[in-house]
Symmetry: D2
Subunit: 359 residues, 4 copies
């Protein structure tokens, strides 16, 4: 009533939406029926990428503030969770593409050269804005990845590569966590004490065991020492720096500590949403990893493999990228440093009070 | 090499694809974040509808031939199965839309008036081309459904309504089934004999039972008579005609018999693909039914309900259409007339031979 | 080390788990291949029902406390969300069952009499513990539903029917919401003012419109009045009582108000988890509804339908139950009473402060 | 009526089914809520594995016949497709397990030692019966895989390892394909001619191109030669034998040729079901591969990773097995040898006739 009426047809730009599927096979040779599916699958992907970027940008905006208001956390988390929901959904879309057989693909494959999913600006933007760093990326065709984008997009991508990513912003946000060091509670110190105690107990169980032979005892003690060393690696600033240099970690020591604190005290009201945020980031990364892996299988299926030549094929690139292009692995790897609930240092009452609502 | 090179960006018409999301809330008032999701969900639906229509049209073409070559059956079935795969997939898409809360929808709902999914030309085309008849449809806003389409689409729809649907073509194809009546084998007669025998045996079990009291026997015998009557309804031409008039069936008697024959002898090589075809049609219908039902739930959730007024709401229309707009119910209802494998009349060897390959 | 070692085989009770599939067709007649699938599908359902009950009971326990600690809200919500995840998953399981054709089902259907999914104690427990009331249930075989359970289960069910359900507990919890009435803020009064203002504005737009004829104006004004009446129905205690009597609502007036408050101010930290809780309850109900509907379609497909007899069939019972057995409809229908964000009464600063964390 | 009545409760062995979830944490320490989910997820997996084995065994039986009757092909394919459907479904089940956080897992992880999914007899049986060879398997804990099974299962597994797998039987069945060599048509010779012709044409396009410089021509010609060599590798018996020795292929030359023939002429009625069979085998393998990969991600998430020690972790084992344990890769790799439809040698009319039905 208050606004001009509009028809579904115009609101959704249906005419232009449905005019965008031109079969190259039809234009250049013989119409290949399955090319339509190929185009539509990729176009729906691009629409969903647009949606994911739209959500991601809004979360990046929220985290670009010097301090993220608590009233915005619920929305930020819900938007990341929506991204996760979209990912799960579009990962299943490959099932539809695979109703096209390799022989059907061969009917139009020759017309597509050199178009490739590697040239998707939006997918690359998603990776970049989430936090994939250029020096972490595999080269593609012996060139930096952005060279494969359309000329009009290369500048935009370089700009995006220089702006802060979600990874960067979440790292800064974690570093600002106020509970790492409050009066009467030094989280990192307490945590280390718990870890040492935990392993001391394990050691004692072994040493006093009547079931184990002397040599079994030695083997077990060595294992315990090994596990403890894994923990100790993050206890010293220098050692942690080395792990970063070796590529084991990317996140700053302080942000890592905050992420651990959020995990271990996640039931505290003030940490409930931060905990969900960290979970959502891990889910995002896991789903992107699955997507890459699934694509490498599909590329293998559709394109086959070369025998005896040195050239790397599409699916091998994709498989290599599957692991290498993970962004939030550090949150995944947090598990390594969890300790059993019974060993988690208790919070002082005053601190618990602060973590709760005013009411 | 043989063809001009092309970039992913141009092949998929990315610029125009990604320019088609104009937030009305932004143009007319205050930008509502979730309107983007709303638009993208509907646009991806429309792309998938295009794909489904594309597959459906190719199957309709195949079945428009005076005789469908056996070499085309595999492809026809595969394309219907692809449609089923797409349906299953997009039915899940509502989960994503429902990450938008009703309050978020309210942020832009007022700008959409009177746009509505009921105005989707492609969805209506799918229903029509599959075989939904105009007189079977619920009115929408007290008008025939096609009046709600964009003016440019109404003529196209009326033309489509007059051309043969997949239902019509499959019916004709079933009627041509050569095995209903071959030398030495009258399927329909044999089938009736089996049915009568089956019920005679059931009757005997009851009559000779020592566990049942006289009144229980009477009740059981009445039930058996009732079930037998269900079968007998399709044995007489006149009775079947009545059932069609009453809306119990739509398919012709001969096509129904052929569909039963295909079910009962589906392991014969010549019937393996026809059996899959019938299954695919049932799946298509079931998935469309689920989609309508799911949409009625979503509409309820997003729009709420009116209290005390007489006006029918969106979700009530959708719920009513859920059952009424089924197209291939007859294939669903076939089950009613199946008989146990042990009672299926054996085929003469010569006929079995004909149903197999030359080799 | 500290505990006795255990093998996967024993931990999961594999031998007894895998001994529980006895094909009745094999015991009583001729082995029917697909009976295995039928059994396994139902057994996995029962295992998932056990899991859902396990989660539900823990949430019921949490809400049985006189006051639910804020530190337990995150876990309660996560468990309800897990239930939703399980539901979504097992709703898809019907696709697997439907790889069994009706003719294959006929191979063993006669051996199952009168076993039926209606006899599932765990499913009935889930409905009851969530809050489905006995007088809301359809009769089954002209008897109260619990009469169809195994004798050993009927007593347990009657006990469960008398203990508080999640619906009851959530209603009480909502009624305790401390923000409905705090110094300087009477939510319900403010909300009513906003509603009246909203409709006054709508009325003015119509009355001053130059595009509308006099009769159109009258029609529009009548519509506005109708919508406003929908709202007014919940403004008066007496009218609301009537709506409860008529079955429009089940929830108490005070709990309804609290649920609305949570929706409208969900970004406040203290309401973020309650909002997710309400969403999860709506999702649970929607998924159960879909499950019932999907089952009615499957029953139709597997069993066919009777013609001309009066007896109601399985799928018709299931379809009727689909709507009638909804439990949290009131949360669904909340949408009816949402108002645009711009009209939501602002919270006093002091109240906003209380809704935030201490820190 | 004819059979003794049975209740749902007894038919499904509900009491014993629901008695099989004993929380070790409760028995040995403090009840960990999420252990129930852990048990139920694994038990439903085992039930589905039983179902898959049941289907697989029936297909193995069918293919153990000296000649597979055409009337059994439809059922065999439907059962493999059902297995694929089950796989897709249970691959999604990991989403539910991942609603358990690593910290929750830590609450009971210590009680499970050394139980592990690697000890699942049914999963190992599935792999073995499909065709995974012992010498293809990674060692687990420096021992052959079957040593990790329960003692009672090790003998059964060794027996299974010696009986023919589906891979073996399908290979034999392919070798028996009657169309490789019929009067007037030598498929393998014709296929080779087409391949040579295809590459000759490509070569000519390059040589006569006016767009390419001399050095570009040389590079292109070298590439063409490389691709042609890939094909030639399967043209000579000796070369193919070498590829088998090098692990590029496992399937016999003759079976490979038959599989190619089926792909290229799949629209012929007699090949429609064989084509679907080959597709189903590829899908089975792809889904198992995805399952392994997904599990490696989950193991990583749940268990973290060791730093600086040499010990391989669970998720690294799983990732390594992901590729190495593929069974039907040869069917995947078939794509490598497809040629465009326009180059597929036409069948003689007489042969086409033989491939069709008698009718």
């Amino acid at each position: 009533m208050k606004h001009p009426p509009i028809h579904y047809h115009d609101y959704l730009n249906i005419p232009s939406l449905l005019a965008g599927q031109k079969l190259r096979s039809e234009q250049l040779g013989k119409k290949a029926h399955d090319e339509m599916l190929f185009i539509i699958v990729h176009q729906t992907y691009e629409l969903w990428f647009k949606q994911m970027l739209f959500e991601l940008e809004s979360v990046v905006d929220a985290f670009s503030q010097s301090s993220v208001p608590d009233t915005e956390m619920g929305t930020a988390v819900a938007r990341l969770e929506r991204m996760v929901e979209i990912q799960k959904f579009i990962n299943g879309q490959i099932d539809i593409l695979e109703t096209m057989t390799p022989l059907d693909f061969l009917d139009f494959r020759e017309y597509l050269y050199p178009a490739s999913g590697f040239q998707s600006f939006q997918w690359r933007s998603l990776e970049t804005l989430l936090g994939l760093k250029s020096d972490q990326r595999l080269n593609y065709n012996e060139q930096p990845f952005y060279k494969s984008l359309a000329p009009s997009e290369q500048g935009l991508m370089q700009k995006l590569m220089q702006s802060p990513s979600l990874f960067d912003l979440v790292e800064k946000w974690l570093e600002r966590t106020p509970f790492l060091q409050s009066e009467g509670f030094d989280f990192w110190k307490k945590y280390q004490e718990s870890v040492e105690k935990l392993f001391a107990e394990d050691r004692k169980v072994v040493e006093t065991s009547s079931r184990l032979s002397e040599s079994e005892k030695q083997r077990n003690l060595a294992q315990i020492e090994g596990s403890l060393n894994t923990f100790r690696a993050i206890f010293s600033e220098q050692d942690y720096k080395k792990l970063i240099d070796q590529g084991y970690f990317r996140i700053s020591a302080k942000a890592l500590q905050a992420a651990l604190l959020i995990q271990l005290y996640r039931e505290q009201p003030v940490l409930q949403m931060p905990f969900r945020l960290i979970q959502a980031l891990g889910n995002l990364d896991e789903n992107m990893t699955q997507w890459r892996y699934r694509h490498s299988l599909m590329a293998h299926r559709m394109l086959g493999r070369k025998i005896g030549t040195g050239g790397s094929s599409g699916h091998e690139y994709l498989k290599a990228a599957t692991d290498k292009h993970k962004i939030f692995s550090d949150f995944f790897n947090l598990t390594t440093f969890l300790i059993p609930r019974s060993m988690v240092p208790p919070l002082p009452k005053a601190l618990e009070r602060k973590m709760n609502f005013q009411i």
